[in-house]
């Protein structure tokens, strides 16, 4: 048994280049079980890259990432690690050729080896949870962006992940649809899911996050609980960034 007090995600001194551009310059971050961490920062600050390193959609050049006791670099089977990490994308990425129901069932059947009946039951329960059980036979192109994103969250949850990663989940949504997605995420946070969220939704950060991480130019500049970071940031760069996104 792994010690439950150990951080579930340990990121140690991660460096990453895209060609000549240095995207991450020595990032250190621990995330505890059940913790909700929100990462903010200007575009190009490396926050999405960092998130994508956690399930190795992005390879990193040096450093160590450990997820649930498994060292990612050189992990024998990265697919096993990914099964435990749900990911939600800015552009939803629902499988366009499958119905909502089949989107939720596919990975359950071929990865978790669940019977169609079992997978279907789990999918239906999750669709109820995210509030759109009536859309099970629709194709992704037939439902709204907010609905697609909720389906995408349900699809990730169907694998019973221990960690959920959210990469700007509401950035591609019309304003009136943002709330329905954030509500689902807030519920998830209340249930004790470990979540790492890249987002500029300050309302969500205040309500659900235990810690806010501010990143700039590939580094973590400052981290603090939301009530502290939003009211009295220590660093000048954090102040400048927050004044831009909070005062408009």
């Amino acid at each position: 048994m792994k010690d439950n007090k150990d951080p579930i995600i340990k990121i140690e001194n991660i460096h990453k280049h895209f060609g000549k551009v240095q995207a991450l310059r020595g990032v250190n971050l621990n995330v505890n079980r059940g913790e909700v961490v929100v990462i903010v920062g200007p575009s190009g600050s490396g926050k999405s890259t960092l998130l994508r390193c956690i399930n190795r959609l992005e390879e990193y050049d040096s450093g160590k990432i450990t997820v649930d006791g498994i060292l990612l670099h050189g992990a024998q089977n990265i697919n096993l690690v990914r099964q435990e990490i749900g990911m939600v994308f800015q552009s939803f990425n629902l499988f366009a050729h499958l119905t909502v129901m089949d989107n939720l069932m596919l990975a359950q059947k071929i990865i978790r080896k669940r019977s169609p009946e079992e997978a279907r039951k789990i999918a239906l329960d999750l669709l109820k949870k995210v509030g759109i059980p009536e859309k099970l036979n629709a194709y992704p192109s037939q439902i709204s962006g907010g609905q697609q994103q909720r389906v995408a969250i349900a699809r990730a949850l169907a694998m019973n992940p221990r960690i959920m990663l959210f990469d700007e989940p509401t950035s591609a949504l019309d304003p009136e649809m943002i709330k329905e997605v954030l509500d689902v995420m807030t519920d998830l946070a209340k249930e004790g899911m470990t979540m790492v969220v890249v987002s500029h939704e300050m309302g969500f950060a205040r309500a659900a996050a235990k810690r806010i991480i501010f990143m700039d130019e590939g580094q973590i500049i400052e981290e603090a609980p939301p009530e502290i970071l939003f009211t009295s940031p220590k660093q000048e760069r954090t102040k400048r960034f927050l004044s831009k996104i909070l005062n408009h």
Partner: protein
């Protein structure tokens, strides 16, 4: 909440599918079926009103039609698999596999199909025989060229390269996010290809693949140069015996035309079926 298609992200669309020229013009299909019927009718009327020479020509070239169909259909089925493997090779991150498939595509595209067919039929058996003699393996040393087999091989080898490019383009037209979503659920690269990418790519690939079938049907007439009794070859044999080139080649042309028009309708039908399913 009930707005449909309101926030469609370009990432989850495959615009290629929406741009299929005949999409939504269902009633035009019947018009083109009439053209198939018209050409078939002309053939029937010619055969009925002037059985000599037209009906005689049809009877004479009948087995040639069978050979043309056999070569075309068999090659086509095999080259789909070659194209899929070649396409996967062309997008492979493995440098060696990528280099081999790219080399294959570049070489094949640079040599005329007729020269390739002749090479496989006349030159390739020589290599086999020399190899057999060098290694003292009897059945290789006495290898006799099988015209049908080598013709199919030649077509698969050549068209497989073009098919690889079609598959490559089709796979690459699927947004990157689809692969990322599949991988992030724990699927392996090949599971993601099989369950997520290829089923979507197929719909993009279908129109050009259908066109390849029709091109292949026409190109199959080249096998008449390598001792295969296909439709074209049989036509030439009939002409040699009867000296009526006008009638023979008009009939041969009409027979090819009815086959290609019919195939085009079938391709169109399949395209529309897979589109509606969406």
């Amino acid at each position: 909440m009930f707005s449909r298609r309101k926030t469609e992200s370009p990432e989850i669309n495959t615009p290629e599918l929406d741009n299929v020229p005949e999409a939504g013009l269902g009633y035009h299909i019947d018009v083109w079926w009439w053209l198939v019927a018209l050409v078939a009718g002309v053939i029937a009327i010619l055969a009925w009103t002037k059985p000599d020479p037209y009906w005689r020509i049809i009877l004479f070239v009948r087995d040639g039609i069978g050979m043309t169909a056999l070569i075309t259909v068999t090659s086509f089925v095999i080259m789909i698999f070659v194209g899929m493997l070649g396409g996967l090779g062309r997008i492979s991150t493995n440098k060696f596999i990528h280099m081999i498939t790219t080399l294959y595509v570049e070489i094949v595209r640079g040599i005329p199909l007729l020269v390739q067919l002749i090479w496989w039929y006349f030159a390739f058996p020589v290599i086999i025989r020399n190899l057999g003699q060098a290694t003292h393996i009897g059945f290789l040393a006495n290898y006799e060229a099988n015209a049908v087999l080598l013709a199919i091989f030649g077509f698969v080898f050549c068209y497989g390269a073009y098919m690889s490019e079609i598959f490559r383009a089709g796979i690459q037209s699927i947004p990157k996010g689809q692969m990322e979503a599949a991988r992030s659920l724990g699927m392996s690269y090949f599971q993601a290809m099989r369950h997520v990418i290829l089923p979507q790519a197929i719909r993009v690939i279908l129109p050009p693949v259908g066109n390849e079938f029709i091109a292949l049907l026409k190109d199959s007439s080249l096998v008449s140069a390598v001792a295969l009794a296909d439709l074209t070859r049989r036509g030439r044999e009939f002409m040699a015996a009867n000296f009526d080139p006008l009638q023979v080649w008009t009939m041969i042309a009409l027979l090819y035309l009815v086959m290609t028009l019919f195939s085009a309708r079938i391709v169109n039908y399949i395209e529309r079926r897979t589109k509606i399913e969406r």
